[in-house]
Amino acid sequence: MMLQDGSTQVLCLTANSGVPLFTRGASKQLPFSVIGSLNGVHMFGDGQGVVLSSCQTDCGGRVVWRVFHDSVMLIAVNGGHGSTGVIQGHVKGEELFLERLLENIWNCMVLVLGRDELTNMRNVERLKKDLRSCFGLIDQLLEDRHQGIMGNLTHCADCLLPPNPALVQEAVNGFTQSVDSEFGCLVVHGRVAAATENWWRLAPQEVILLSALMRMLSSSGSASCDYPVFLPQGSPTVAHRLLRFQLLPGADVCVLCGPTPSLQKAQSDLVRQFWSPLVETLRDCLAVGERCLPGTVSLRVPDVLALLVLNREARRSVSCVRPSADDSPTLPSKARCWELLRLFYIFAATRYFSQEEAPVPGALAEEKAHSRSSASGDFVAGFPHQPLQCYLVTEECKCYGLQTQQHQLFLLTPLSVPTFALRNVATQTLLAVTADTGF
């Protein structure tokens, strides 16, 4: 067995010649012969008019292939739980996860290098070198270092609902205007606390990726930075500047702008001007912490183990785990709750709740076809009637999923909640989250 249990490796090759560009993930790289045959299998099928998209093994291992713009081939390999049968790390073996991962990685490559560089490969060696600059971001996507971030999977931006949204929103709008931009965003604990209207008009994948980039940049500890980015959908060939300023540890603001103003000027003048009056407000935001929801939202705390609310139209999400402080040993740990929440999302999304993505203009027809047929999404289409809600009772917890016109809720409750009460808990929770906050 060449791949460790549960580890995931991503291989990147040129699509037409099969030259390996990079390999990320897993401590031990797969031997070249394996990489070659993984690619060769796909290429051979392609020549015969058969496009291989994924395969799985009996112990959870999985391989997913994807070609982007006829130029780059990405392959994700997951080792499965093998003989040891580890319980953790299942999410990474799910097809939906791997598919989203590959898409995110491709977008990340475009974000850093621009699409032209990737589609018109003139000098492979140089490209290899250039691609190194993506590794930080790719590793972050692969390792899922930030426990509470669901956006990479759901393609809905993780949000944090600030206690006083109007103030923060105003500051973000003002600050963004002052640097001659329409795209600005405040990130608290790696989640979007407020953003301008146009920021939300970016494709969800871009918002996710920019958030991930912000997390990476802010964890580097620098107070500010100026980072050139291409927008994978919005402007894949023309770079913009991403200006990021740390306001407080854990709170960053960023704008996408043109050549002016300089980082220096913005930091010295504008940041102070707009944000210094708001320090207390920002501290309040930081205090919300992992709960993501302001104190005004009252959940039936003992009944809620974890929750994920998606706004289907705005492509935003709020998630939190274990809002209650009680550390009863019978309940699953926090990390396990996140894992379960993800698993349940994948379960419900691939079987019952259609995951209509915002149509991405400019995506190739073949890629559209691909995303339509992906995972077990075809199973959803088989229902003559529309699924609205679903629940699961497992040995660790109970799960309830619910979708309305606007929202999707995924809720985990302890086993102590009776099954017939789940529906009430779920509807109340959704109401509590959405009613007051206008989420």
Binding site: L3, G45, C55, G80, H81, L340, G382, P384, H385, P387
Partner: protein
Amino acid sequence: MFNIAIESGPFSENLEDFDSIRSVLLYSDLEPEWLDNVQKNGELFYLELSESEEEVAVARAHGNDGLSTNHVRFSDNEAEVITEADGKQRSGRRAKGEPKLKKLARLLRRKRPSQRRAGKTEAKDGGSLPASILKTQAGQRQGVTVKTVKEVCVYVNPKRLTPLPNGGGGLLASLLGLVHRPCASRGPGNPAAGGGGETLTVHGLVPNSPAIRGGQILIGDVLVAVDDVEVTTDSIERVLSCIPGPTQVRLTLETSAPAEGATSVAAGGPPAAAAPQPRPKASPPVSQLVRLLWGEDTAELQMSMGHVPHVAMYLSLQLDAEALQEEQEILYQYPVSDASSQLKGVRGVFLTLCDMLENVTGGHITSSSLLLGRHLVHVGYWKEGSRLLVLGLPAESVPLLYLQSVLSGVVRTLQVMYGSLDSAFCLADHAPRLDHFFCLFFQQLLQPSRLTDGGPGAPWPAPQTPDASGSLFLDGLPAVRWLSLPPEIKMKVDTVLSDFESSDFGELSEDFFGLRRLYMILGSCLFYKGYLIANHLPREDLLDVCLYCRHYCLLPLACGQRVGQLVVWREVFPLHRSQQRAPCRGVPPAAAEARYAPPRARHFLLIVGLRHLMQCVLMEAGGAASPALGSPGPDCIYIDQVKATLLQLEVLEGGMEERLSAPAAPCLSCADWFLPAASARDRHGAASPSSSSSPVLSKLAGAMRGPSAGARGLFGDKARRSSPKRNLSDSGNDGPPQDPGAGVSPDPARRLGARRDSLGSGGSDGSGSLLKIPRMKNPNPFYLGTLKKILTERETEDMFNSIKLTSGVENTLFHYVLMEAVQGIFIAPTHRDMAQLSGSIHPQLIRNFHHCCLSIRAAFQQSLPPRGPRGAAERTRRPLGMGPIKEHGVLFQCKPQNWTDQKKPAPTMTYWVIGRMLLEPVPQEFYVCFHDSVPEVPVELAFRLSFGLAL
């Protein structure tokens, strides 16, 4: 031999009667009619249709350009028929006289028992028995197998005769292009026809002649008539010389081999030329069973499936580098058509992946997904030793979630039939059987709806077609559909079966001949109209037997009076029995036969069907019985014993039928009743507009609003129309049939009584006292048949009302499936129950239910750790990661189709589909579908349902 007198009235308990039946069967010394169809290896698959069915077939045949068979008789192995065609055609002429005889025999045989009062004494005398016709006929059996009459129109021109190299052959060869060698047809078995000359067998075709151009005349056909003028060797030249000028003549030919099967072999048609294969399998195998079930020709069906990619391949992982033969790694492939060519082309991918992933991830590959143009295809893998079975199926037919269970089903069926995959695929002479096997397999998976629509008398009497996911789900359950019978009938059935299984009388007993008996009967099971009604087999054996029956669609066949007589005999390899003698697996049976040591038992499956009844018997040779040598064919004694048993049981059919036609119990509701239809809406609107428009909607809104309104709002709708459940028995079809308005609400006492009573069926004693009928003290919902006799009609109706699984005033149960894993059976509403609940939404709901069950069951399966010794065989997938799932439910919403009212939004109805897996006290799986209005506790439902399941 079937006109035995049976007292048609009350069930006769007199065993001597039955002994006499048996002795009649045994001593009558008749040759059974299936004898000709026994294969070289001892296998037999003989199916004789019922008369009505044959008439339909004949009628269709006439509309079908005359190219069809009169008798649908077929064997398991078409290829052998083809090879024997030469021998059979000799008696082609004689076959002509037979249908009449057969028909007569059948007519005589098929008299209802009540008409057969002739008395057994006569039967014993045997003098002028109709059965003796059968006997004499059996002597002429060569021609019986398959006989096709076809008419071919050819264009002939006497002015342009085809020049022949040797000049012989006369007009027959030069004008028509048929070559007949006079002496060749004179065989020892062929008593030369009288003075009228000989039969005109086609021994060859002249190139570029009119006969070969059409492609319909085959070598081996017998020319019977030209333009309706009967011809023989003597008269043919004269007849042909009468053709004055260029014209079209109609030739009537008889074929004694299956037409299509012979096409490519004899005429060397394009398919054979295009794909040079090591064995002649280029043409799709003609499966008359397929034709019978789907009502179409295999070729047509294949055409309609041609655009759907699907394939089954058995590949060798060990390649001999030196042998340069192309495609040597393909040990078997089906179909050989465009549908599979692309998938066949990428077999290298499958082989590489199988090999590589094991090294990379340490697990065996189970499936992969491919995009073929617009089709998403899932490919399942099954590795056995150094061989790999690959199965490619389109995603729309088989969702990935269920691919593994489909695959393991096929593998198990093959293992049961052949012992192992290797022995199934690696013997060259199995190829045509496998073609037949996979033809059926793909038909069932890809065109399940045609199976039910297409047949002349649709197999299920229901208008409702079992949908794709429905058949996928129900066939995938490791269980058989069970019909519970009233206890006294059940007892009698069991007694009869036990008597048979004891095999301690007549020729079955060892004392009779003073020899060891040939076979020991391990057990048997009995089907009535496709429902299992009695089972004396261990679970695993039952499943094995059932897999075989399902695969050959025997169960639906028995349902609609389509089977006149069915006899199947073959060696089987029951899974858990053969696992104990593992060392011998993988050796082809032919080679293994010599090595079978006496203590090692072999098993044989005997299936005998008579009309609606079908009995499957599993027998063991070796062990206690004498060892089987070679490949023993069907044993008349055993078959006759089973027939006698079935005849004996036929007397009980009345009781079974009564149970089947009894109203559904537990009560079911039709989805349409909960959705005000456009027409009903007006009526309701006048009476109580607020409640009738959509009680469900308001309820749903309530549920969304908060806890007070909640999901428990059943009693919120006081003004609801009268309970729909009551209509079930009398007026199934016309929507909400009763006036919703005033005063219909049943008096509270009765309601209460009913309610209490339904709880009483959950096990508490004495709660039925309100109804003051001692009989109903502990009503069992499944024994309605008996209750119905006792109670008056009024009371019975009350009973029906009370037998519902859901709590609350109204019956909200739509559908259910309960699987009892220990017994290997499941119960679900009968097809007739479902047919009674016709409506526009309801069939849709059932389809949805089944589709959802696929997902629920897949979730259960995924979360289960592999169990015991079967873990290896079933290869359950990894645990889902969420841990074991005990219960899973989905809430659905449906709207009426074609909602025309623009102003109002369409009314909606919401309902739950819930699955639950119980491991204690006995493993059960339970799937139920009910209306949203009552929050049910599925455990309770499951308990109530299983309580009625007495075995």
